[in-house]
């Protein structure tokens, strides 16, 4: 809504960033230019150096227009069904993300319900949920692949989704624990005066009271699922997806492929968060929340 209002500041900041970026491109890539010149025994002029830093094929830092043109080449100029299209690869990552996200929501909500409804659950699960997030998932990734392989999962989608879910269940769980326990004493006592059973308390009070918390956690959670999907692709087995492309780009000395995949990932993550935010707004309104 306020987009028009803030368009100018955003553009200014982007312009400033571009200037810094171009400056850094020249500075960082010129080392290589000078090295090459020294190997060739020539002495390049400053303008030659500048123009060279803008078009290296293995730059330390590619110039913005290089990234944009690579993005253009691999999205618009490629058929969506082509493996070389970032859209195609993005959809693979997206699929993993959504499975992981769904699984994460399910796990997060279930754990939260156990934690809120049972004292033993709360005391024993909550600390371990926190500890689970301090374990470097990348170290577990291969084991997840192999174990899910051993358990008969045919595709890599399963282990990747598990990794994504591992990262995304936590924000949901934390928020839902807060949300499900957000009803105050009075709201709980009201139901007690009706002689309501625990079942009714859960569905008529705790669940609706937790909805704002639930929605608030979705954006964080989908971002986490996305990171999980990329990490999964990057570390389990570089077969397909944006994470795999980053890896292959890095492994085969094609930094432009890596940079393009990186930016595509950021754009995709941005879109995901935006979409989830939109869905959240719609649901919130449907539930009678204040239009904020």
């Amino acid at each position: 809504m306020k987009l028009r209002q803030s368009a100018f500041p955003i553009l200014t900041v982007i312009a400033a960033l571009l200037v810094v970026w171009y400056g850094a491109t020249i500075k960082m890539n010129s080392t290589w230019t000078y090295d090459q010149a020294a190997r060739a025994g020539t002495e390049p002029s400053f303008s030659e150096v500048v123009s060279d830093t803008m078009q290296q094929s293995r730059p330390l830092l590619p110039a913005p227009h290089q990234v944009v043109s690579e993005l253009w080449k691999t999205t618009v100029e490629k058929k969506i069904t082509s493996k070389r299209s970032l859209v195609y690869q993005g959809i693979i990552t997206l699929k993993t993300t959504l499975w992981g996200f769904t699984l994460g929501i399910f796990i997060g909500v279930s754990l939260a319900a156990i934690i809120v409804l049972s004292r033993v659950g709360r005391l024993s699960l909550m600390p371990w949920a926190i500890i689970s997030q301090t374990i470097p998932i990348v170290a577990l990734a291969p084991m997840i692949v192999i174990l899910s392989n051993a358990a008969g999962a045919g595709t890599l989608l399963v282990p990747k989704a598990i990794i994504a879910a591992y990262l995304s269940f936590f924000p949901v769980m934390v928020s839902m624990v807060k949300g499900l326990s957000s009803p105050d004493h009075m709201q709980l006592d009201l139901l007690r005066t009706y002689g309501a059973r625990p079942n009714a308390v859960f569905w008529k009070l705790r669940v609706p009271a937790s909805m704002p918390y639930f929605f608030a956690s979705l954006k964080v959670s989908v971002a986490a699922a996305f990171v999980g999907a990329v990490v999964g692709e990057l570390s389990t087995s570089a077969i397909a997806g944006l994470g795999a492309r980053m890896l292959i780009g890095s492994q085969f000395g094609e930094p432009m492929i890596m940079w393009a995949a990186l930016f595509a990932a950021a754009i995709l993550a941005g879109l995901l968060i935006f979409t989830v935010g939109g869905v959240e707004k719609i649901l919130r309104r449907a539930m009678g929340g204040r239009a904020v």
Binding site: D189, T193, Y194, P208, R290
Partner: protein
């Protein structure tokens, strides 16, 4: 008064008190040590009584109401409601409780909020709709059924919460400062409404307030309480007739009772 429970059986059934509080003690254990919230509270409330509780902040008014509703368990003494324990009475759905704040569920419309107890108690769909309409009319909230709580003013919210407590026709109404945040004019209006309802339905009402005129205007019995430890210092039976126009408040009788209440209150503050 302590042998009241034994003598009870001998009385004719009609006069048996609806709420019988006898020797009730309640101590909260807190980090800072125990708080003696209620001490040796004795009180009988008969069917159709309108009892007001008045007393300084922290004297145990809310706590006593909660004990009656079975939301708090006394640490001593006995408390029966229609001969049952408060918990049993609660499970038998005897109470309509209006809390100190409106406490509407923000995710439900006004209609939905009023319907909540009906859903839980398993009324039929048509009955739910019928009753919601009826009680919303009673508190002058026709047409606001579809609105959400935050779209209403504070006073309207409080009226909705009263409607919610009335919806399922509980025998006993427990109202904890229901008009706390309202201005005098709205308050007067609601006082009249409550009196009307009470006169028509013969409900038993326990009512907490900070306002002396309100207590005197509404009640058949005024219970004055005093803090540290929370206890009853005076029980005043009102001689006012059941029919009470607003200007009864300028009558000599009224002013006299009000004086007695104020004195009781002041004594509590000093004590």
């Amino acid at each position: 008064m302590t042998d009241l429970t034994t003598s009870e059986a001998e009385r004719p059934a009609m006069q048996k008190p609806v709420i019988d509080v006898s020797g009730v003690d309640l101590t909260f254990q807190t980090n800072d040590g125990p708080i003696h919230a209620l001490k040796d509270v004795n009180l009988e409330i008969n069917k159709g009584d309108f009892v007001s509780f008045i007393g300084p902040s922290g004297c145990g008014k809310t706590t006593l109401l909660r004990c009656i509703a079975g939301l708090e368990t006394p640490t001593g003494g006995t408390l029966t409601v229609n001969g049952l324990s408060p918990n049993e009475a609660r499970k038998a759905r005897s109470y309509g409780y209006v809390f100190q704040a409106a406490g509407l569920y923000p995710w439900r419309t006004i209609g939905g909020n009023v319907k909540l107890p009906l859903e839980i108690m398993g009324f039929s769909k048509e009955e739910q709709i019928r009753r919601v309409r009826k009680v919303l009319e009673l508190v002058d909230l026709e047409g606001f059924e579809k609105k959400y709580p935050w779209q209403l003013s504070g006073g309207m919210q409080q009226r909705a919460s009263i409607a919610r407590a009335l919806a399922f026709d509980a025998d006993i109404l427990l109202m904890d400062e229901p008009f706390g945040a309202l201005d005098e004019i709205v308050r007067d209006h609601l006082n009249e409404q409550v009196l009307k309802l009470w006169a028509r339905t013969e409900k038993t009402i326990a009512f907490v307030t900070h306002s002396i005129p309100e207590a005197v205007y509404l009640s058949t019995k005024i219970v004055v309480m005093s803090p540290r430890p929370g206890r009853i210092t005076d029980i005043i039976e009102s001689p006012l007739p059941k029919e009470r126009p607003l200007d009864i408040r300028d009558s000599a009788e009224f002013i006299e009772i009000a004086h007695r209440v104020r004195d009781g209150l002041r004594a509590g503050h000093e004590g």
